[in-house]
């Protein structure tokens, strides 16, 4: 008798099915239409049922045979890299490219295996200067460089 395996397939299958169910629920008030005159809900509903079906199959297959087991998540890089990226998104318009660069590089570097603060700071300042020259003056990408309050 097999034990219930919590493995990658089971989790992946449940994930697909959950997206399908959520999608069906959200799309429930989109006009469905007919095959001849498809409404905005036609394709989404078909795709969601497909996801539920396949997700179910994947999950069942995962339960029946021992698949690859789940591996631990490394939270430090995950959180710091994502927070760094979000920080850049929040800061780029109010404080400009130079400071947003320092934030994303410092926070991102802190997510690495070996974090040396002074080295990371030097990198951040170097990239901020290089980035402003390359992106704003070189490629003429439209973005603020300094905090808008300064000008």
């Amino acid at each position: 008798m097999h034990r219930l395996h919590i493995n990658r397939d089971l989790v992946a299958g449940l994930m697909f099915a959950a997206v399908g169910i959520a999608g069906l629920w959200i799309a429930s008030d989109y006009p469905r239409g007919t095959a001849l005159r498809m409404g905005p809900g036609y394709m989404p509903v078909m795709l969601c049922w497909g996801l539920i079906l396949l997700g179910g199959l994947i999950a069942i297959r995962g339960m029946l045979k021992a698949g690859a087991s789940l591996t631990a998540w490394h939270l430090r890089p995950l959180v710091l890299v994502l927070v760094a990226t979000l920080g850049f998104a929040v800061l780029i318009e109010p404080v400009g490219l130079a400071l947003a660069t320092v934030v994303i590089v410092l926070l991102g570097a802190a997510g690495g295996r070996e974090f040396r603060f002074l080295e990371a700071l030097a990198l951040a300042l170097g990239l901020a200067a290089g980035g402003v020259v390359l992106f704003v003056y070189g490629l003429k990408l439209p973005m603020p460089v300094w905090p808008s309050a300064l000008f």
């Binding site: 498809m38 905005p40 795709l47 994502l82 490219l97 590089v105």
Partner: protein
Amino acid sequence: MDLLGNIAHGFSVALTPQNLLFCFFGALIGTLIGVLPGIGPLATLAMLLPATFYLPPVPALIMLAGIYYGAQYGGSTTAILVNVPGESSSVVTCLDGHQMARQGRAGAALAIAALGSLFAGTVSTGIIAIASPPLSELALKFLAPEYFSLMVLGLVGSMVLARGSLINALAMVLLGLLLGLVGTDVNSGRERFTFDVPVLSDGIGFVPVAMGLFGIAEILVNLEKPDNRYIGTVIGSLMPTREEFRQATPAVLRGTVLGSLLGILPGGGALLASFAAYAFEKKVAADPARFGKGAIEGVAAPESANNAGAQTSFIPLLTLGIPSNPVMALMIGAMMIQGIAPGPQVMTQQPDLFWGVIASMWVGNLMLVIINLPLVGIWVMFLRIPYRLLFPSILLLCAVGSYSLNSSPAEVGLMALFGFLGYVFYKLDCEPAPLILGFILGPLMEENLRRALIVSNGDPMVFVTRPISLTLLVLAALLLLLVVLPAFRRTREEAFTEA
């Protein structure tokens, strides 16, 4: 002959000083980002796309194309010297290329990779020139049912060639198609899955999706592993021995053919061309045990194949206006910026652009051999940058790239979200490539399905009664059947477990 006239016209366009210069820029930037692991053509094109607005169309597209195939050259340098793929399409080159480097034959491996790529680039440039006119002709007959069936074929192709389980790949395709539908429905004006978030009302941009799933997720995955790169310092003689030439030549030929074919397939491109070529080479080798221990065929075949595939993947773009991978989707974006609608009419309405870009590919390949072989020492310097300095820089480039395309901070946030999802998919063994293709093709497929069914009065038989559409669907079915066959299935699994 017309073909020769067209090619001559292409060269007269490609060889103007301005176009030569931008071709060189493209090749140079492509090599640089190819050498640097973690930063690929996608992020680079996204950053350069807004800047191409200031350029005329021909040099803009010549440069962007150069970046894509140039990255295939640069990627092999990193694979051979450091055992890290500089580009995802160089993953299999690591296996034998790096072993050659450890045996002091790095120079020969680099030379064979570059010369094989040049040969493949020459052949596939010719294939594009020969195959595009009849395909454009054919494409003019395409109506909604044919476009729909062609996209079905492409999606099946991406599933078959994704690593891991087929049913996971199918689920990823559906998820991608669903993500592609987010935004305002063009027919009814109804917003779907937007949750009243403004950035979603025009649909999710594929640049944040692709850079999140590939760029950011790769950083997250890499940070889990220790940075134990072995950097081969001794490059040795660049001249391969007579014996090495004898072994590499047929492998280059096979890799070129296989790569060119797989590149044309929607969903194809450099990545799967290299995998397939390596697997095939091992299959036909007299002594497969040599592979993984520095067999030169294991470098020659995939490196020829990825360059051939990178170039022939322009065929669906130039003749049908259908992007076969995210890089090609960005090329469509570049054409739109210039006011050119991609599709079969480009060849007749913009002959300068069409033939100029094709001819520039051959010129670019020639430049790349020079950029990569004699100057390899310069690129080695970049390889000495430790990952702890490299990845924050890559992160910054991704953020700037996703911001600058539409000056939208929300797209940077979306990229972070998809970076997280990419990490989850990695943990669950779900390959993101089929998702991305489904995502790009989702809106196009829905539109063509709708149109096809309106024309046929809601009769789904329209897809099988029209001969071209039927042929495409039969091809898709055969492809699926092939995977279910045990013999092919085993080869497919072997090919992917090696990498």
